[in-house]
């Protein structure tokens, strides 16, 4: 008995008894033992770069709904940003900050430890992995500085005691991003095949550099980087603009970098269709385009609707830039196999899901929570997602060639180098076969061209996540985001075209029946504050060297 007691009691007789290591995965100390582990870690970057700050949708598909062109019906932090009443606890801003720094830390973890496996890795894989991590880190900083301005620059894994870091000025960060991308680009291939599709390419690095340069007013860098991408000859515009945002366009040569999704085994999906779809299409219509965006699109003659003879207020969607219909589900069109009609007296509509088509109750007219504006987004809504609208595997484009062409055109103009190459770039975008808008003739003043290229970005890129930054870069946010946010006239049409300004912003003050337009919310924009988002309050509290953006 005593022997049993002693054997149990004696703690030293079996030293290993208390040595337990995690059984679930390797520890951070022993990791990076071989090439396989390096690849696993780099693959993880792609998983986490594609986070979803709202409603299961990636960042770039949500953020335009906090601008003049869209609205989030949910009582969300993004809605607050749109309305101009965000505070320093705004969770949309906070989640983007938090998730972005998580991605950055994962990149830093690889970059700090990469050399451990240098001699166990083929040079090509080693160099590519390093460049991939640098690309994703730079890409992440790129949008962080768009929204927050200067942020702390973290390039190493941090210890708890090293976390009091002040802001690095935005311009310095832009230089850092561009330098990183310049250095990463040579080690990245032009393209991939098979299970590597979706990794960072040379084009993606250079395109991100061009975007960073443009957003930070470094016109020469922007033009140069864009030109380098154009000269790669890897990318061409997709002929069918509408199909580009559907499963049919997933492998297009226009796509420079896209988040990758796969439904099989619940690997990675996003919920975009549910949020965007109409009520008949069994979506929630909680992210919707504005009346002003609809009115911003020109007629097929290239003129704004308040100038064009082709515009008929009684048939307002006729003779319009085709991208209007490709971007937005318009009343009268077919959307997800239903006749889409949001006039409140259209109590019945056609359901083309069945053969022959059936007349059914029109939820867009009956349901109180049918789209408030009368329109829905069409990009990224593909009938193929019908079996599971909350789990789409449609890849989400982050960078595409049209953006590069427009960066080039805008930068050349800002550089005062408005040559034929700039006209060619913008016309290439306008004249892809499915769009076919009239070419812009040369001889424009810089101001005229500026107006054209800004509007072109709106027509081409609406809902893809550029508007937030564009409005701020152009200093027109306080005009675009103040006052009534309008939806359609619920039982009728806007009686006359609103005035469209040089940036494509609509002014309804002269519209005779503007009192019948649905006021969805009343917005304010404090130009002394809202050009930058608030730094999450928790960050200012925990990092005493970090100074909150003004007036939050």
């Amino acid at each position: 008995m005593l022997a049993v007691v002693l054997a149990t009691v004696a703690p030293s007789c079996q030293k290993g008894y208390l040595d337990k290591s995690p059984l679930s995965g390797p520890s951070d100390e022993t990791f990076f033992a071989n090439q396989e582990e390096l690849l696993l870690a780099v693959n993880g970057l792609y998983k986490y770069a594609a986070y979803t700050p709202l409603d299961g949708m990636p960042l770039n598909l949500t953020i335009d709904d906090g601008t003049d062109i869209g609205w989030d019906r949910n009582n969300s932090a993004l809605q607050s940003i749109g309305k101009g009443n965000q505070d320093s606890n705004n969770t949309y801003a906070k989640d983007i900050w938090k998730e972005a720094y998580k991605v950055i830390a994962k990149c830093n973890f690889i970059l700090d430890n990469l050399d451990k496996v240098k001699d166990k890795t083929t040079p090509a894989i080693f160099n590519r992995s390093k460049a991939e991590a640098r690309f994703i880190r730079a890409y992440t900083y790129q949008y962080l500085i768009d929204y927050f301005g200067g942020v702390p620059l973290v390039t190493k894994m941090l210890k708890l005691e090293d976390t009091q870091i002040p802001k690095t000025p935005k311009a310095e960060l832009a230089d850092f991003i561009m330098k990183e991308l310049t250095e990463a680009a040579p080690d990245l291939p032009n393209s991939y095949t098979g299970a590597d599709v979706g990794r960072a390419t040379k084009g993606a690095a250079l395109a991100t550099k061009a975007r960073t340069a443009l957003n930070n007013g470094k016109w020469q860098d922007a033009a140069d980087a864009a030109k380098t991408v154009m000269d790669l000859k890897t990318y061409t515009l997709h002929n069918d603009f509408g199909a580009l945002f559907s499963y049919a366009g997933q492998n297009s040569n226009e796509i420079i970098w896209a988040f990758q999704y796969l439904r099989a085994s619940k690997t990675k999906t996003h919920a975009t269709p549910t949020a965007l779809l109409s009520r008949n299409g069994q979506g929630f219509s909680n992210k919707v385009p504005s009346q002003s965006l609809v009115d911003a699109y020109p007629c097929t003659d290239g003129l704004n609707i308040d100038e064009s003879p082709l515009f008929d207020p009684k048939d307002p969607y006729k003779n319009r830039d085709p991208r209007l219909g490709f971007t937005i589900a318009l009343p009268g069109s077919i959307y997800f196999n239903y006749q889409f009609e949001t006039h409140r007296d259209s109590l019945k509509c056609w359901n083309y899901d069945t053969t022959p088509a059936k007349r059914v109750d029109n939820q867009e007219a009956i349901n109180a929570f049918a789209t408030f504006t009368g329109y829905c987004w069409r990009k990224y809504v593909d009938l193929a997602d019908k079996p599971d609208r909350s789990n789409s595997e449609l890849n989400v484009i982050q960078i595409r060639y049209a953006e590069i062409l427009l960066i080039y055109a805008e930068a050349k103009n800002e550089l005062n180098q408005l040559d034929q190459s700039a006209y060619d770039a913008i016309n290439l975008v306008r004249q892809r076969p499915s769009v076919n808008m009239p070419a812009i003739a040369s001889g424009k003043t810089p101001a005229e061209f500026r107006s054209l290229v800004r509007k072109e970005r709106l027509y081409e890129l609406a809902m893809e996540g550029f508007r937030q930054t564009d409005l701020r870069r152009w200093n027109i946010a306080e005009k675009a985001m103040t006052g009534n946010f309008y939806g359609r006239v619920q039982k009728g049409l806007v009686a006359a075209a609103p005035q469209i300004d040089e940036n494509g912003l609509a002014d309804y003050s002269a519209v005779p029946n503007r009192a019948d337009m649905r006021v969805i919310e009343i917005r304010t924009f404090n130009k002394d504050r809202d050009y930058l988002w608030p730094i999450p309050n928790i960050e200012v509290v925990t990092n005493t060297k970090l100074i909150q953006n003004p007036n939050y």
Binding site: P26, D28, W97, Y101, Q164, A195, N351, A368, F369, I538
Partner: protein, 1113 residues
């Protein structure tokens, strides 16, 4: 293992016949375990507990217990009267006197031989003439007969025992004779015979038992010798209330033990137990030891429990070292106590109702109010006047065109049947004693597909090999099965989500169409269809354990004990979520929610090993009494889990993995393990029974910490002074029977901070690249290799008093400080990793406790009243200067843990002008919006203007239990309450038009009292759609959460014994019970005052009305 197989099969379809088969199985197995047991013991003290036993049997029993021989005429002995006797450790002669009192036989002892002879017929004539035959009946406090009670004549050897009806007959010399009636556990009654010839003698339960023993860590201690703060709760008190979970049954039972029950969800209706406040932030749950084995307080049927000891101060709990920082609860299960054979059965059946439900507006009101809110914020109204007119014309009725759905009525079933059955069989011999229990708890929820079933089998066996060697073998199998609608994938919310929807969806949405199809509800979310037809989440959590103990006592003063207790637990989850097709009124299909029917099945297996050994030496030298315990233990745990997922069930009637499509199937799994090894020791010293000293120490090694930090040392010391034993106290002794002063100090640890807190592992996951599955490895948390134990130091001073034998008072004051609290302090998000634990915090808990109990009687009316009251002040002393912000509940230096944090509301703006002139608030503020105080006067209301609004830790918790009995009737009432607490319901729970965080939800009737220019003194602010100003956390929404609740009332009646005897029933009691009968509080209407801080999306607490019976054969 055959046993388990058979058992499982039995459980699937239980009925009474199978119950009997199971019981038979238990007994067979137990006996099989113990068959070879045989040895004889020699002792001079006799214990007997017999009913209607023959003298022959008695002789055999006495021979087994002594080395005496018996001589006598067998014929005579066989003719002797049957004997009822119940004695424990009495001298042989006393036992024999009782046995022969009613006989025509006499005995005499010669050397070690008992000689039995016929009683001589000749008595002294004087004696014959004067003696009186007295008959009588001895009963307990409820009037039940006490068979085997001893009746003696004062100053004489003559004695008698009562028969099975409690009746006795004895001859006394004269009318001045005094009878002394005694029975174990009751006070001795002395009755002067007087003129009566038939005496009804009712015994009172013993009030003050100096020998009352309290279970303490690794042993027992006489209550009078306790030096620490220990509260005792008897199993009897717990089992009288029809509570499914023992944790909830503990509410109000002991001072300093705060139990909060926030939900009535079947299977999750336990309470959170906090002993003396909250000492840590990560896991403030106390350690629960069931017969020495770490376990969960909720896996044990209250009927199994003999007693619960709650070790409150550091001195009494430090022997549990690194796990004791939040207090220790020791559960002792019932064992067979006598060689008595009995079967007892008790049950109850009852009905549940929610205690509170919010009242919601009808469709018409909803539409008018939301339009008002739209208009107030400059928006185009949501509903047209024409539509509203249609609703007016429809006048409250519901139709497909103009629905007016009562979501609560449609979703709640209106009844939740709850029943419990518990059977105990005990029997055995002096050498082998068995107690077998079988329990079934079956609890239906107040919504469809919500239930909890628990099957309990426990068999406790005591084996005596010899006076020196004893063993205990306990077997336990519990299977708890909880079922609820597969609503939320978040197990913490579970069916709470259904309550959120039934309280959130506006009445103008359709629940069920006129055609009888599921309506669309809220975007396809429909609590009616989800609860009735949405599939179920079923958790089966069976576990089996063996607790084997060998006890060896080679010499009187030395005792060694070794125990091995393996436990195997399985947790099997089955979430089958059915896609529900909702329909539009015209019958065309609308949302299919969720899009795919899916099954997520997971299993966790855990293996728990527990070995321990102790050696105890105790010795008394003259006035010095010493007891020394040393022991060691090892515990290790290994757990592994796996889960599988499939979706697209074409045939939803086959909810198994194979029934789904393989396309999206997933498999996941991982494992974890930990180990703890410890040395512990205790020294008790007492001088003259007056001065008491106790020292404890524990040395714990835990696998959770990195090398260098693995071991921790936890000492304690306590002392007691029994003032009442001092000479100078003699004069007071009749008034104050017992007075003891206690002082203690000790140090405790906490290691409950995750299994590998000092190591960070990368996570294996997968993602998509090139439309293929790609494996990934990710670092997501930050490690801190330097972390070590949390330590708690506690000082306690206490006083125990017993006054007039029936009033006892216990009072304690304590100060406890926890240092190096492992906290995940807010770290800058730019680290990009989940914050590591740091030894960063210091928290103080200071408090006092008072317990008063009184027992008394007026003739046959017995009553007892007990009252307890305690208070604790919790303060965070240090958090490394990092003040938490943002959240509604925060941890901040100088305030209690989880304090409520928000703006100070200053009423409503009286005019738009006032709103504009005030510091800038949130969004567009107008008259009727809540005004917040600009604490720092910077003209901007932001985070830095927030204040600590209140604390979520209840203070001044109290309870009172009142018991009374008269003849066969008994009444028990438990009142329980909190004197000071804050509650806070936010989000959809209280804000208008807010369902699940999105816009457009319904509004409570109460919120109609809103600010309008005509109603400036309203209860609630103006309706403002999509404006966040009034939704900010502020004192406006803070509520007083103090309460007094009639927690339980029970009225019972024990049928007269002479009636039940005819049915061969020893005791039969019937009772009616009400739980959570009424509550007096000032909380938000529609919510239970104990509801947790949050959006009110919880399954509400319930009332239960039940009836039951207890029967012993």
């Amino acid at each position: 293992m055959k046993f388990y197989d058979q058992f499982r099969a039995e459980l699937s379809a239980w009925d009474s016949e199978q119950l009997i088969r199971i019981m038979r199985l238990i007994i067979i197995i137990s006996i099989a375990c113990l068959l070879q047991v045989s040895a004889s013991t020699r002792a001079q003290k006799i214990s007997l507990n017999e009913k209607s036993a023959s003298l022959e049997t008695i002789i055999r029993k006495i021979r087994n217990q002594t080395n005496y021989f018996f001589i006598g005429d067998t014929k005579l002995i066989r003719k002797a009267n049957l004997i009822d006797i119940n004695v424990k450790d009495v001298p042989l002669e006393e036992a024999l006197n009782l046995c022969f009192s009613n006989q025509s036989l006499v005995y005499s002892i010669i050397d070690k031989t008992v000689v039995i002879k016929k009683k001589p017929l000749i008595f002294a004539p004087a004696l014959i003439r004067q003696s009186i035959l007295i008959k009588g009946k001895v009963t307990d406090e409820n009037g039940g007969p006490l068979p085997g009670a001893s009746v003696k004549i004062e100053g004489s050897a003559a004695a008698a025992t009562t028969n099975s009806n409690g009746e006795f007959a004895i001859e006394v010399p004269d009318q001045n004779s005094v009878l002394l009636v005694s029975y174990l556990g009751y006070e001795i009654a002395s009755i002067k015979v007087g003129n009566e010839t038939f005496l009804n003698i009712s015994l009172k339960p013993q009030k003050l038992d100096l020998n009352e023993v309290v279970v303490v860590g690794y042993g027992t201690q006489k209550k009078v010798n306790l030096t620490g703060a220990v509260s005792m709760v008897s199993g009897k008190d717990l089992a009288t209330r029809p509570m499914g979970q023992t944790s909830a049954a503990l509410q109000g039972m002991a001072p300093g033990v705060t139990v909060r029950q926030s939900s009535g969800r079947p299977g999750s209706d336990g309470g959170t137990i906090r002993i003396r406040g909250i000492g840590t932030i990560t896991d403030p749950n106390p350690l629960v030891m069931i017969d020495g084995i770490e376990g969960s307080i909720n896996n044990i049927d209250p009927n199994l429990i003999e007693s619960i000891s709650i070790l409150k101060d550091a001195a009494s709990s430090s022997i549990y070292g690194s796990r004791a920082a939040n207090g220790v609860i020791l559960v002792t299960t019932k064992r067979a106590n006598n060689d008595q054979t009995s079967i007892s059965y008790n049950n109850y059946i009852g009905w549940q109702d929610p205690t509170n439900m919010p009242k919601l507006v009808n469709a018409l009101d909803y539409m008018l109010l939301i339009n008002e809110a739209y208009a107030n914020t400059g928006r185009t109204p949501l509903y047209s006047d024409a539509l509203i007119q249609k609703y007016r014309e429809q006048n409250g009725v519901s139709s497909d065109l103009y629905p007016n759905t009562d979501w609560q009525k449609e979703t709640l079933t209106g009844s939740g049947l709850q029943q419990s059955h518990f059977l105990t069989i005990q029997g055995g011999t002096q050498k082998v004693k068995l107690l077998g229990s079988f329990g079934l708890l079956d609890q239906k929820g107040i919504i469809e597909n919500s239930s909890f079933k628990r099957y309990t089998i426990r068999n406790n066996a005591d084996i005596t090999f010899s006076e020196k060697l004893k063993a205990k073998v306990d077997l336990q199998y519990v299977n708890a099965i909880s079922t609820e609608p597969a609503a939320s994938t978040d197990a913490n919310i579970g069916s709470g989500e259904i309550f959120q929807w039934m309280n959130g969806i506006p009445a103008n949405q359709i629940g069920i169409t006129e055609g009888g199809q599921w309506g669309v509800g809220w975007n396809g979310t429909n609590p009616i269809s989800v609860s009735r037809d949405g599939g179920t989440y079923r958790l089966r959590a069976p576990f089996g354990s063996i607790n084997a103990t060998v006890n060896y006592k080679p010499v009187e003063w030395l005792e060694a004990e070794a125990a091995y207790a393996p436990k195997y637990a399985l947790s099997s989850n089955n979430r089958f979520k059915k896609a529900i097709q909702s329909y539009l009124p015209n019958g065309s299909p609308s949302f299919l929610t969720p899009a795919l029917t899916s099954l997520n099945q997971s299993q966790t297996q855990s293996f728990f090993n527990n070995m321990r050994a102790t050696v105890t030496a105790s010795k008394t030298f003259n006035d010095h009494s010493l007891k020394f315990l040393i022991g060691g233990s090892r515990e290790d745990y290994y757990s592994e889990w796996m889960s599988g997922y499939r979706d697209t069930y074409i045939l939803p009637d086959y909810p198994i993995l194979d029934g789904g499509s393989a396309l999206n199937q997933t498999a996941k799994g991982s494992a974890e393990e930990w180990a703890l090894q410890s040395l512990f020791s205790r020294l008790n010293y007492s001088y003259k029974g007056k001065y008491l000293l106790e020292l404890n120490a524990r040395y714990d090694g835990s696998s959770r910490f990195a090398d260098g930090n693995k071991y921790g040392f936890f000492p304690s010391a306590s002392a007691g002074w029994r003032i009442s034993e001092e000479g100078f106290f003699n004069g007071l002794k009749n008034i104050i029977n017992e007075a003891k002063l206690r002082l203690s100090w000790g140090r405790l640890g906490n290691q409950n901070i995750g299994i590998y807190p000092s190591i960070t592992a990368l996570m294996f996951e997968s993602t998509a690249l090139g439309k293929q599955i790609t494996n990934t490895a990710t670092l997501s948390a930050m490690a801190n290799k330097n972390i070590s134990w949390e330590t708690t130091e506690e000082k306690n001073i206490g006083l125990d008093l017993t006054i007039f034998n029936n009033l006892s008072i216990t009072a304690d004051y304590y100060q406890r400080r926890t240092r190096d609290i492992l906290l995940q302090l807010d770290v800058p998000l730019l680290i990009g990793l989940i914050a590591p634990f740091q030894n960063a915090g210091t928290v103080d808990n200071k408090g006092w406790e008072l317990g008063i109990a009184y027992k008394g009687n007026v003739k046959d009316f017995n009553y007892n009243v007990s009252f307890n009251l305690s208070d604790v002040k919790n303060t965070i002393v240090d958090m490394k200067g990092i003040n938490q912000t943002v959240n509604l509940t925060v941890n901040r230096e100088g305030h209690a843990i989880n304090s409520l944090f928000g703006y100070e509301a200053q009423g409503f703006f009286a005019s738009d002008g006032e709103a504009v002139a005030h510091a800038k608030q949130f969004g567009t503020t107008k008259a009727g919006d809540i005004k917040y105080k600009d604490q720092n006067g910077d003209g901007l209301i932001n985070e830095s203007d927030k204040i600590i609004m209140g604390s979520t830790i209840p203070r001044l918790t109290f309870a009172s239990s009142i018991g009374a009995s008269y003849k066969g009737f008994d009444l028990a009432v438990l009142l329980q309450g909190v004197g000071k607490a804050n509650g806070y319901v936010n989000g959809p729970g209280v804000l208008p038009f807010n369902v699940g965080g999105a816009l457009g939800g319904t509004i409570r009737e109460e919120n109609k009292d809103r600010w309008t220019p005509e109603n400036p003194n309203a209860e609630y602010p103006r309706l403002a759609f999509g404006e966040s100003n009034n939704e900010q956390a502020s004192t406006f929404w803070l509520r007083d959460a103090s309460y007094l609740r009639i927690k339980n009332i029970q009225l019972g009646y024990t049928l007269p014994a002479n009636l039940t005897k005819k049915l061969s029933i020893n005791r039969l009691r019937v009772f009616a019970n009400g739980s959570n009968v009424a509550s007096f509080d000032r909380f938000l209407s529609g919510y239970d005052v104990e509801a947790p801080v949050g959006a009110g999306n919880i399954y509400p607490q319930v009332k239960l009305y039940s009836f039951g019976l207890e029967v012993t054969f």
